[in-house]
Structures are given as C-alpha cells and as structure tokens.
C-alpha cells in the first residue's frame, strides 16, 4: 500500500487519547455503532443457518485465495471477451497513473465516483486532482466527508463521526446548489444532496467505481449499495473505470448466493440491500475498464496467518462491535481501514516501519467480539497477536519483558521476586513512575499481600 493516508500523524495511543476527550464524538459513535450493532444482531439471529453460511463464506474465499492466479486469469479473459479492458496495477502509483491516463483519453476533466474503498486506499482523488481532474464523490456520506475536507472514519458509514447539525453546516458552507432554508432534518439533508448530485450525474461522461465482488467465471462485477447513486454512476456515463483489489474475486456466479446473504446482514443490518448492480464487460455502448489492484495484497497472501485478512468483504461488523473503535473513532487508526480489520490489514499492506503502523496491532484488548461477528470468520485476535510478534519493540520494553520472562521461567526466581515485592508492600507509592503511571493515573493498585500463594502453600500444606 504505497499511497499513505495521513488521517492523523503520531500513533494510535496518542490519537485515541485525544479522541476519547471529545465527548460529542463519543456520543455520536456510541449511538451509531450500537444502532447498527442491534440491527445486525436481529437479522443475523433470524437465520438458523448463519454459522453454516459463515463457514461457507470462509471456505469459498479460502479456495479463491488459494487459486487466485488461476481465477484472475479466468476473470481477465471473461471481461475481455465481453468487450471490457483489463489493466493490472502493482501498486497505488501505477493504478493512479492508469486511471489518470484513461480519464485524459476521454478528454474530460470531471469524474463521478461510486463509494469505493480501493480508490480511497490509493488516494485516487488526490492523484487525479494533481492532473487537473476533479473527482466528485456521490455516496451521501462520502460527499459529506469530501465537502468537509475531512477523512472517512468508518468503512460503511464514512461520516459516522458527524451529526446532522454538523452536516447541515457543511452543506450550507460548501455545497452548490443548496436550499437557503436547509434544516438538519435527515430528509431535508438527503433531498438537498439529491438536488446537487442529480446535476452531476446528468453532466458526467466518466465514472469511477470499485466493486464488492468480481465473478471469475463470467467476468461480472457486482456493487451493493443503498442509495441508488452508485447505479446512476455505473449506468449513465459513457466510460466506466472500476478499480478493484485482486482479492475481491469469487469463482462462480453460484457463490454470490452466500455473499449476498452475508454482506447486507453484516453491514447495514438489512436482509437485502436496496440496490445490487451487476455488469459484464462493456454493455450498451459504455466503454468499460477494470483496473486490478495489488498494492501489497500478494505480500499478505504469502503470510500463512495474516492472509485470512484478504477474506474481508468490508462489511464493517467488526467496527460496530469493537469497544476500542467505539471510543477512539476511525481517524485514530490513520488509515482508510479503521477498526479491528484495519488494525490487521493496514500494517500488512503498508508494513510496520512507521510509529503509527507499528502501534495498530496493539489497538485491541483482544476481547474477541470482532471474530465472533465476522461473516467470513477472520480470527482477528489471532492475526493481531501474530503481527505483534513481528513489530520492532521499544528497547526498554524489550528489556522489561525479557527480565519478566527470565523470572517467570523459574519457580525459585519467581518466589524470590514475590518475597521482594512483599517486603516493600507498605511503601509502594499510590502513583507509579514511568510507563506504569499509565495504570495509576486512573486506577488504584491492588494491595500486595503479606505472602504469595506458593509461600502460604509451602508453610501450611506441604507436609
């Protein structure tokens, strides 16, 4: 993942510490995540075969990833046969160059966009802007983020950190045309956006999208959405360019049956999403280009534990149940992929050389709620722990952990350390120094007992 998303500098603990102080943000996030969480639980609960569906989703994705080379070539052939053009992009720069060149070839200087994580990941809008091409986001939430000169903070609900009063301000300030008497009623806000977007749809000659799924067998791309704005973009313009990660493949049409159940129920908490658009190659005179994006994915594929992250279908169920995400918010993760999935995906795609990326595998209490709701059974805690073993640890911490490991690996040493602690039990300060002050800043310490359990046992029981 070469294009760096600079949502926030620093590292996760610092970013999160700032975010938890923002009580409005915490209120917005709590309300929103708990609402979606509840909806998801209801619609998942009504399917008696949910665990079987989940196992099937995992198995299909695992098979796809195991034979990705074969399925990708099959897809390329099918798309080409249907009149589409397939481009291969090794990284973000290459993908951005390809899309820029394709837009330039149409002679247009504006594109409309369908909500897409892949184009966020590569920073496509910024790359196009550098060549004088303006990209207009048409997903309502992405529009709010774009107009507010802001960063998305959630995979499904990019403006989850904004409440309706803030959205009204942004619209009045930045959106044209805009009704002068705009209120913060959700209906009024949506209507204003509709008015604004309708003009764009009718004017634009080029659209850029991602895709939720690509069917290797037929070369069909699939986009699931709620607003219908995606369908406008996919069908009206003369040229359609889709940038899709190579892991978005499914082998056959039949596999969709599983995923069209798993995705809407896990993401929006609906039985079925309102709009499902499918297209194969260049249809009805539209010129279609598919840019297949690697950007670090084959490296992830090479990792036996980490590769399960590529099963992700971007439903964001893990974000909505994560107690850490709920308090820290999406921006703290400094990536277009926030929350638990981001904490395992970003460090694998970008590497862990920056302070921020190295802190992401630790942005979890390992409570396991994410694994429980994941529709493709990604064992996120397992990957987090695996990544933690690969991070370069701070020297002081490394020394501390080695000493602790040395003491714990011998019962005599452990007993001596316990007796030492016991001897100083009355003089332990209420506030600890150094990194341990992180505990005593907000929590009292337990009292150190007069003797350890093992000494008590030795004294009383060993006869």
């Amino acid at each position: 993942m070469s294009a760096t998303f600079l949502g926030m500098p620093g590292n996760f603990p610092q970013n999160a510490a700032e975010a938890v102080q923002n009580s409005q943000l915490r209120y917005n996030l709590r309300k929103a995540t708990h609402t979606i969480r509840g909806k998801r639980a209801n619609v998942v609960g009504e399917l008696p075969d949910w665990q079987e569906l989940r196992a099937a989703g995992k198995a299909i994705k695992d098979d796809t990833l195991r034979h990705l080379d074969r399925y990708l070539l099959q897809l390329e052939e099918a798309v080409t046969r249907a009149g589409g053009h397939v481009h291969w992009a090794r990284d973000a720069d290459e993908a951005n160059r390809i899309v820029t060149r394709l837009v330039q070839a149409t002679g247009e200087s504006e594109v409309v966009k369908v909500k897409s994580m892949a184009t966020q990941e590569i920073g496509l809008n910024e790359a196009l802007a550098a060549h004088g091409i303006t990209a207009y986001e048409t997903d309502l939430a992405e529009l709010i983020v774009q107009l507010g000169d802001d960063f998305p903070s959630h995979i499904l609900v990019p403006a989850i950190h904004r409440n309706r009063a803030e959205i009204r301000e942004i619209f009045l300030d930045k959106m044209r045309p805009v009704p002068a008497d705009l209120t913060d009623e959700p209906r009024a806000l949506a209507e204003a956006a509709r008015l604004h977007l309708r003009e764009r749809f009718l004017k634009s000659k080029v659209a850029v999208s991602g895709a939720n799924f690509m069917i290797a067998e037929t070369g069909t791309l699939v986009v699931l959405e709620s607003e219908g704005n995606g369908r406008m973009c996919l069908t009206l313009p003369e040229t359609l360019i889709s940038v899709v990660g190579i892991e978005k493949l499914l082998p056959s049409w039949r596999d969709l049956e599983v995923f069209l159940q798993l995705l809407p129920r896990s993401s929006t908490g609906e039985r079925m999403n309102p709009y499902t658009s499918m297209w194969t190659g260049s249809a009805e005179g539209q010129d279609f280009h598919l840019v297949l994006l690697d950007n670090g994915r084959t490296n992830v594929l090479a990792d036996e534990v980490g590769r399960q992250a590529l099963r992700c279908i971007r439903c964001s169920a893990c974000l909505n149940v994560c107690p850490v995400y709920e308090r820290a918010g999406g921006h703290a993760y400094g990536s277009v992929y926030p929350g638990p999935i981001g904490a395992i995906l970003t460090p694998q795609l970008r590497g862990m050389s920056s302070d921020l990326d190295a802190s992401l595998p630790y942005a979890s209490s390992l409570c396991g709620a994410c694994y429980e709701v994941c529709p493709v059974a990604i064992d996120i805690p397992e990957v987090l722990v695996d990544l933690r073993a690969k991070v370069r640890h701070a020297p002081a911490e490394r020394v501390g952990m080695r000493v602790a490991g040395w003491i714990l690996n011998d019962e005599v040493r452990l007993a001596k350390a316990q007796r030492l602690a016991t001897r100083f039990r009355k003089v332990v300060p209420k506030r600890l120094p150094g990194p341990l002050s992180a505990w005593t800043d907000t929590r009292d310490l337990p009292e150190i007992p007069e003797e350890s359990f093992r000494d008590w046992w030795e004294r009383n029981e060993r006869a």
């Binding site: 999160a16 510490a17 630790y362 209490s365 722990v385 640890h393």
Partner: protein
C-alpha cells in the same frame, strides 16, 4: 478425585486469597488438591504482547509441569483459554510440542467448568448474603464459551441476590498490557463498565478473572464507589460457618 491447582502468576503473586478459596472449595467437594510447585505462568502476557519466544518457553514449562494430571483447575478463564485455545497455535502441527499440548490442554478447566462439567455440582453449598452482579470476562465468554455456568453456580448460593449487569458482554478494557499501552481507551472502557456496575446497585462485582477485576476494581476504588470486587471462587468458598473468605 485428585486435581492439580494451576494458580496462575497473577493470583499467586497478588491474589492468594483466591487460591486459598479454590483449595477449600475443592476439598469441601471431596477433591484432593495438589499444587505442583514448579508451576509459574502460562505465558499469555508474553505471547499476547509479541514476545513469542519467551511465551513458548513458559508454555513448554506448563505442559511439562502439568503432564500426567487427570484434571488441572485454574481460577482464571483467561489463562485456561490461553492453554486450550492459543497453545496449539504456538507450535508446528505434528511436532513433539504439539503432542504434549494435545495431551495436557483438554484437561485444563476453568473453575466453573470443572465444578459443573467434571464434578457435576451446581450447588456447592455456599452462603453469601449480598447483592452481587457478574461480569463475564471476554476470554471466558468468547474463548472458553462458559455460557451461564458461573451464574448457575451463583444462583445456587444461599442468601445471594444476583442482579444482571447491563452490557455484560462488553470488554472491561483491561486486555493485559493493553491497559498500559492504550491507557486512555482502557480507562474509558473501564469507566463505562464501572458505570454499568453502579447501575445495578450491587455491593459486589464478581468475575472469573482477577486480572479484569483488578482493572474494574481499581477504577471503582479510584472513583470511591464502595463496590467490592470478588473472584467467583471466593464467593463459592464462603459458608455460613466459615464466613466469607
């Protein structure tokens, strides 16, 4: 029945009362309790913080120390889950270590599992006349899938009034070294958990892990709430004659 007590390093060092409670409870139920003195730590802190080599050494030690016991009882859902769920992932399949783990791990029980599944006791004859709420810790809930075992045991304690904890399944924010690596989020989660505990009006917060209780209890204490925290074993060991441990 002869059982080995795996006390866990946290209980051994900071909460010996929990260990004593397990010993008295198991003896009351007719078990012979052994404490293998060579035991130290399951290695969870090292593995989960990214120090796998140190963790693997401690895991190897654990499997050697507890090999040959019919049953190993741990008063910690988290440490039992470490042995049963995470140990197999630390070694190569088919290796000697894997065989040793496969031998020991299934015999490691969290206390409530041992009482209900092995001893088949759901009333341990305890007496504890207090209003209690129970927090199911993450690793006992989503790792070991303890379900309602602990609350079934608590419901049968004479005098005890069990009140449900709102949003019980939410993590308290301890998370091992997470509590000091991400202190702001950890404290925010702890504060929300403390709020839920206070909403119940309980005098005592009970759980199957002293590490989580240390975090929630430390928060409750800093906030001067007066709510006590107690390990499940300590409540189950309390009797009318003996009083609370």
């Amino acid at each position: 029945m002869r059982v080995a007590l795996f006390i866990t390093c946290v209980n051994d060092t900071l909460f010996p009362g929990t260990g004593k409670a397990v010993v008295s409870l198991l003896r009351r139920l007719g078990c012979e309790v052994d404490f293998p003195a060579a035991q130290t730590c399951c290695g969870q802190m090292h593995v989960n913080t990214g120090y796998r080599d140190e963790g693997v050494r401690l895991a190897r030690r654990f499997t050697e120390v507890f090999a040959g016991y019919e049953a190993v009882v741990a008063p910690s859902g988290s440490c039992a889950a470490m042995v049963r769920e995470q140990y197999p992932k630390l070694v190569r399949q088919g290796s000697r270590g894997a065989a040793a783990i496969a031998e020991v791990a299934p015999k490691v029980y969290e206390l409530s599992e041992f009482l209900l599944d092995v001893l088949k006791v759901d009333d341990v004859g305890a007496y504890f006349p207090h209003r209690v709420t129970y927090h199911p810790t993450c690793h006992s809930l989503r790792g070991l899938h303890l379900g309602d075992r602990p609350t079934r045991l608590l419901q049968n304690v004479r005098g005890l009034e069990l009140v449900p904890l709102p949003a019980a399944e939410e993590c308290c924010g301890f998370g091992g070294t997470f509590s000091v690596k991400n202190p702001a989020v950890s404290a925010a989660m702890g504060a929300d958990k403390a709020r839920s505990v206070l909403d119940t009006g309980a005098e005592v917060l009970c759980a199957a892990d002293n590490s989580c209780l240390m975090h929630i209890g430390g928060t409750l204490s800093r906030q001067r709430t007066g709510v006590r925290v107690m390990h499940l074993a300590e409540i189950l060991a309390s009797t009318e004659e003996g009083g609370a441990q």
